[in-house]
Subunit: 203 residues, 2 copies
Amino acid sequence: MSGRGPRERMVFSAAQLIRRDGVGATGMREVAAHARAPRGSLQHYFPGGKEQLVNEAVGWAGRYAGKRVARFLAALPEPTPALLFAEMVRQWTDEYEADGFAGGCPVAAATVDLATSTDSAREAASAAFTEWTTAVARALTDLGVPAGRAGPLATLMISSLEGAILLARAERSSRALTEVSRELGPLLDSAVTAPGPGHAAGR
Amino acid sequence: MSGRGPRERMVFSAAQLIRRDGVGATGMREVAAHARAPRGSLQHYFPGGKEQLVNEAVGWAGRYAGKRVARFLAALPEPTPALLFAEMVRQWTDEYEADGFAGGCPVAAATVDLATSTDSAREAASAAFTEWTTAVARALTDLGVPAGRAGPLATLMISSLEGAILLARAERSSRALTEVSRELGPLLDSAVTAPGPGHAAGR
DNA sequence: CCGCTACTATGACGACGGTCATGACGGACA
DNA sequence: TGTCCGTCATGACCGTCGTCATAGTAGCGG
């Protein structure tokens, strides 16, 4: 777990702490201690200060989420959009049942704490979300979802997942996550063969 | 705007600042200044300190969101679940197009910054979400959604909305909000007459 | 041994936050 | 008038945080 260099470990630790405590409540000294890295390395590897560290952590999280999607797809014997989403959700329910509801999504945490940094934090979060979304959209098209619907459906999946994570953490229950997965499943699978949008009210 | 007493103004201002900057980045002095209230009133009205103030702000937000649902329903000439959700989304797109993407949901902000306070903050956020969810679920049943689906669908609506708010703020675009509304609409309306779950893969 | 570079170590500074202590104002009421 | 109490006003304390400055160590080519 965690890359070999101290630098990578610090980025990884930053992402972990941010996703648990938020950006503002995560201190640089804390990151160094968590990564078992010397405090002096902070200003050496991250001359841009906390902003740079947070941005790299967010970017790392986006890349991680994107890669994870492809791995989910490969692991499923008979992949469908609903099963992919169920797998994405399961990643969270598993963690919550194993380690408690301590952590959320680091990108979401960075988005909420926009005021702390300049626009660069927002851009990093936006890039992370787009990376994740395009990965999901690509997976959907691979599963037979028409190109026009893959993007919006990917956005819907990630939005629902992020929101359900919030609810789950607040109520300390995976209920929201499982319900969202169950309710969204049929809609996602119904988009595979359907040529146009929805069923009736296209608008 | 804002109640008459200084106390209510402070709770309201706290909610506004929290939803913009997050819990950690919002200072007590800042809240007092924003509410045009004397700093000395903080320790008088909120002897429980910041924790109490934040919890009351979160509770206020939950109550506000719940009432808002009923008002949306009443304002719609021919209400359907999809139209209700579209109205909930529109509240955010309108604000974002008018005032910029400055603010998010205060309850989400409080949920992300769990570490700052004890469990009471989490309970306040949970209560706020529950209040909001039950209001939406009640509206859905009024619109003809079977009792068994109203709760999960309400959770899905709020999850998607919260997540889309995150995406919208990150990319400074209402795209995610409108796409989620459009994609979720048919599913919501299809639940009105359908007795069982989804269309095919019930489980 | 020198100089150079990458990395580590540590202390200090300035700013800000939440909280507390203390006191002042201003009606209400006897 | 004197006293009480809700409200407001400030200044101080103490901790933490991000950042900077400075110095130390380790390895290496010359």
